[in-house]
C-alpha cells in the first residue's frame, strides 16, 4: 500500500511529505518529497547588497538564527579578508552556543512530544524562553536577530546582559538534570528509541550526514574542532560521540552537547573583555559610529555610501563552513566585484541529513518512522530554502 504522510502532519516538523510504501505496518520504502517551503532565498540574495542579505539568513533555520548569521558573515568577511576584534569573536561564540542550547531544547521538547512525553516540551520551552529573552536584550529581537553584521556586531550589548547570562548558566545545569530524569532512564522512552533508526557510520559519511546524527554513529566530525572559526581553537571542550547510532544515542549526544555548550559559554564570558571594539576597523564596509557621523565628514559619507550602494568585495569565491546545531552549515559566496553577491549557496545540514531518512526508517514500523524523523532534527525552512 502506498500512503502519503504529510505535507500536513504534526510529526513531520513542518511541511515534509513522505511517500510510504507499506506492508501492513512495516515501511518497505520511504521517499521524502520536499520543496513545499521553497522561498527562493538564494535567488533573493542576488538582488540585495551583502549587508541586506543577512536578514534572509535568519529565516533559513529559524530555530538557530545566530548560527546562520555567523556563517554568512564569516563567509563575506573571508571574501573581504577582514579580521574581527577578539571581543566581538568571543561574543559571537557565546551567542552561537546559546543558540545551540535553544535549538537543542526545542529538539528535545518536540522529539519527546512526538513520542508521547508531552510534559518535557513545557520544561524545555521554559528554558528556551530565557535564552530568547537574552537575545531580545542584546539585539532587540527574540528570533530574527540579525545581530552579527559583516565586520562585527550590530550594537554594543546592553549593560547587565552578562549578569543575565550568568544567572541562566547557574540554573541551567540543574534543568538538564531534570530533563534527563524525565527521559534517560524512562522505560517507555527507551523502548521507543533504543535500537531504532540505526545508521551505519560508513553510510552516514557517504551520505554527507553531519552534526549530532553523525557523531552518534561514532564519527567525531565537528567543524569547531576540525576547521576552527571565530577563535574556537582557544576554547576547551570535548566532542561527545556514541557508538550505538540509534535514536537513543542521538538523544544522549545532544544532551551531552548541551553540557559542553555551557562550558564554552562560561569560558567565553571569562575571556571577553568588558570593553573594547565590537567592529572591525574597516571604513567603507563597517558603518561608522553615530557619534563620529555628527562630527566627521568622512564618516557621514561612508555611512551614506554603505546604506545606498553597499560595498564591493574583490571578485572571487569562498566557502565557509561552521557547526550549526544541526550539523555542517556552509555558505558559498561568489562575488563578481559589484555590491551584490553574484551567488549565495547554502549548504543546509537538514537538507543533507534528510537524505538518510530512508536508511533509518526502511524495514521498521510506521511508529518508528516518527521517531526517525524527529531524531535527525530537520528544519524545513532550511531544507527547502
Amino acid at each position: 500500500m502506498v500512503l502519503n504522510m504529510g505535507p500536513q502532519h504534526p510529526s513531520t516538523h513542518g511541511v515534509l511529505r513522505i511517500v510510504l510504501e507499506l506492508d501492513g505496518e512495516t515501511v518497505v520504502k520511504a521517499r521524502p518529497e520536499i520543496g513545499y517551503l521553497h522561498t527562493g532565498i538564494e535567488k533573493s540574495c542576488e538582488a540585495l547588497t551583502y549587508s541586506q542579505a543577512i536578514t534572509l539568513t535568519d529565516r533559513l533555520d529559524y530555530l538557530s538564527p545566530l548560527s546562520n548569521n555567523l556563517g554568512y558573515c564569516l563567509a563575506v568577511e573571508k571574501l573581504l579578508g577582514l579580521t574581527i576584534p577578539k571581543r566581538a569573536q568571543y561574543i559571537r561564540v557565546l551567542l552561537t552556543e546559546l543558540t545551540r542550547l535553544a535549538s537543542h531544547l526545542v529538539w528535545v521538547g518536540t522529539h519527546a512530544m512526538d513520542l508521547g512525553a508531552t510534559s518535557v516540551m513545557l520544561y524545555c520551552f521554559r528554558e528556551r524562553e530565557e535564552i530568547l529573552k537574552i537575545f531580545e536584550m542584546v539585539s532587540g529581537q527574540r528570533m530574527m536577530t540579525s545581530y552579527f553584521r559583516i565586520g562585527g556586531l550590530a550594537l554594543e550589548p546592553p549593560p547587565g546582559w552578562l549578569d543575565r547570562v550568568n544567572r541562566f548558566m547557574d540554573i541551567f545545569p540543574s534543568r538538564i538534570e531534570e530533563y534527563e530524569e524525565l527521559l534517560t532512564a524512562n522505560r517507555i522512552w527507551k523502548s521507543r528509541t533504543v535500537g531504532i533508526g540505526y545508521l551505519d557510520p560508513r553510510d552516514a559519511v557517504a551520505l554527507g550526514v553531519s552534526g549530532p546524527t553523525l557523531r552518534a554513529a561514532g564519527v567525531a566530525y565537528d567543524v569547531r574542532k576540525f576547521f576552527p572559526y571565530s577563535s574556537y581553537e582557544e576554547f576547551e571542550f570535548t566532542v561527545p560521540t556514541r557508538m550505538e547510532s540509534d535514536c537513543y544515542a542521538r538523544y544522549l549526544v545532544r544532551v551531552a552537547e548541551m553540557r559542553e555548550s555551557i562550558k564554552i559559554v562560561r569560558q567565553a564570558m571569562a575571556k571577553a573583555p568588558a570593553e573594547g571594539p565590537i567592529k572591525a576597523d574597516a571604513p567603507g564596509i563597517v558603518p561608522p559610529d553615530r557619534e563620529k557621523m555628527k562630527t566627521e565628514m568622512e564618516a557621514l559619507i561612508y555611512h551614506f555610501k554603505i546604506f545606498t550602494e553597499g560595498f564591493a568585495p574583490p571578485a572571487g569565491e569562498v566557502y565557509q563552513r561552521i557547526e550549526s546545531p544541526r550539523g555542517e552549515l556552509g555558505f558559498f559566496v561568489a562575488s563578481d566585484g559589484t555590491p551584490h553577491p553574484y551567488r549565495v549557496k547554502v549548504r543546509a545540514p537538514s537538507f543533507v541529513n534528510l537524505q538518510a531518512l530512508p536508511k533509518l526508517a526502511e524495514g521498521r514500523l510506521v511508529a518508528d518512522l516518527v521517531a526517525c524523523i524527529g531524531t535527525i532534527d530537520i528544519v524545513l525552512g532550511e531544507v527547502d530554502r
Binding site: I34, G35, H38, G40, E42, K43, A47, K78, L79, G81, D203, V205, A206, L207, G208, V219, Y221, F226, F227, G316, E317, V318, Y319, R321, E328, G330, F332, A334, Y342, R343, K345, R347, F351, V352, Q355, D384, R385
Partner: protein
C-alpha cells in the same frame, strides 16, 4: 601573436599543465604533490584564494580524478559537503560547478571546479557512485539550473513542482517569473 605565446610556453622537457596560477606555498602542498605523482595533468589549473585550494578540472578527466581523490589512501576525501553552481551567463562555458570536499581521517579540505558549457543540454557525469550524498545535490542543480547529470539514478525536480517550466536560479530567468 606567435612571439607572445613563445614567452608563456613552459620550458621544453617539463610537461606541466599550462598557465598555472601558483603561489609559492602551493608547491609543497601535500594534496597537490600526491595528485601530481598520480597524474601531472589531472588539474588543468590550481587556484588559491583566501586559503582555499581549488583544482580546476576538465569535464573529460573529472570523474576519474574525483574517484582518485576519494579512494587514494592519504587523501581520502570521503565527505562531500556540497556542490554549488555559479551561472556565468552570458560567458561560456556557462556553468561552474564547485565541489566542496572534506577528508575526515586527514582533516583536509579541497574544492574542485569543473565548467560545463550551456549548449542545448548542459551535461556532466554524476558523482553519486563515489559520494552517494550527491544524489540530492545533483537533483537540486538539475532543478534550479538545468544541468543534466549523466548516470544519475533518479534525476527529477526536487524543490520546484514537477510541471514547472524553466530553471529559476539561472541568471536569465526573471526574478518575478515568466509572465
Amino acid at each position: 601573436m606567435e612571439e607572445r605565446r613563445a614567452g608563456l610556453d613552459p620550458p621544453t622537457g617539463t610537461r606541466g599543465p599550462p598557465f598555472v596560477i601558483e603561489p609559492d606555498d602551493l608547491g609543497n602542498n601535500p594534496i597537490l604533490q600526491r595528485l601530481r605523482a598520480w597524474d601531472p595533468t589531472a588539474a588543468a589549473e590550481t587556484l588559491s584564494f583566501r586559503g582555499e585550494l581549488t583544482l580546476v578540472l576538465t569535464p573529460s578527466r573529472f570523474r576519474q580524478t574525483a574517484e582518485f581523490l576519494q579512494g587514494e589512501p592519504g587523501l581520502q576525501f570521503d565527505f562531500l559537503s556540497d556542490i554549488s553552481v555559479v551561472d556565468r551567463f552570458p560567458m561560456e562555458p556557462r556553468f561552474e560547478l564547485n565541489y566542496h570536499l572534506v577528508s575526515i581521517p586527514n582533516r583536509h579540505t579541497l574544492h574542485l571546479r569543473v565548467s560545463v558549457s550551456s549548449g542545448r543540454d548542459p551535461e556532466i557525469e554524476t558523482v553519486t557512485p563515489i559520494w552517494p550524498t550527491a544524489d540530492w545535490h545533483e537533483r537540486e542543480i538539475f532543478d534550479l539550473f538545468g544541468v543534466r547529470f549523466l548516470g544519475h539514478p533518479d534525476l527529477r525536480r526536487i524543490l520546484m513542482p514537477e510541471d514547472w517550466e524553466g530553471h529559476p536560479l539561472r541568471k536569465d530567468y526573471p526574478v518575478e517569473g515568466f509572465r
